[in-house]
Symmetry: C2
Subunit: 146 residues, 2 copies
């Protein structure tokens, strides 16, 4: 088992970050505009991109502190993996510790997803700090895999 | 043992990417302007940032294909880890598969370094494609840890 890890700091409150992770409008502002479903505890959120997408079941939510999803549909490599956001305050920042955990193998797609997650987390930071994110289909292109 | 993985695609030749990884001027154009030493096989490259830096021993170089460094000085968590760049051509891109491998524990600093590596690899892509990178001290700020 192997994990993708990231850490960003956002100069907003933990509550603002939490809202961006637990509402459809919030998620659509930084990850993909084509988001729907129920982003609350026990719900299923559907994230769609040009070539496909992911369905996430919301396993845990702790306001201002944590969000945990399980991937229940999407690329074979993602199914059964979990995506975790742990929030804490430090200096003037809300720190987001991100983990996309339990990949079975470090396949090339995992390398790609790690870099894409970084750019999407920077999009989360940007939308909260400036009002302007870069969700798909306006996301940062990193390679031939987009 | 745990690894940081990334994948980018650069619309230049493998030789151009290889040069940016194996010359002091190339490395200074995307990672940190304060780079010196010997970036060739068997050499030691010194990368300096505001608060500190890293010394890398160049363990392997294969023109157009691979660069492998070992961290011989720097933060305690980095010493003994290895940084690997594998290059290949795909479509009109040179694909860089990046691995910073053999971290002993997934400490919070590793989360931070994973996101910073992503932004520096995007700086490598930018300098090769547009002539303008974002090496330290002009690097992208991601958090209170810079």
């Amino acid at each position: 088992m192997t994990d993708i890890l990231h850490r960003i700091g956002v100069t907003t409150s933990p509550e603002a970050v939490y809202t961006a992770l637990t509402t459809v409008d919030g998620l659509a502002s930084w990850w993909t505009e084509d988001t729907d479903g129920d982003a609350g505890l026990g719900g299923v959120v559907r994230f769609r991109f040009g070539p496909g997408g992911f369905d996430m079941k919301v396993l845990e939510t702790e306001p201002g502190h944590r969000v945990l999803w399980e991937v229940i549909d999407g690329p074979e490599e993602w199914i059964g993996t979990r995506v975790r956001f742990d929030l804490k305050q430090e200096d003037d920042y809300t720190i987001v510790l991100f983990r996309h955990e339990d990949w079975r193998e470090p396949v090339e797609f995992m390398y790609h997803c790690s870099t894409k997650w970084a750019t999407f987390l920077m999009s989360l930071k940007a939308v909260l700090e400036t009002g302007s994110g870069a969700p798909a289909p306006r996301d940062v292109r990193i390679s031939n895999w987009h």
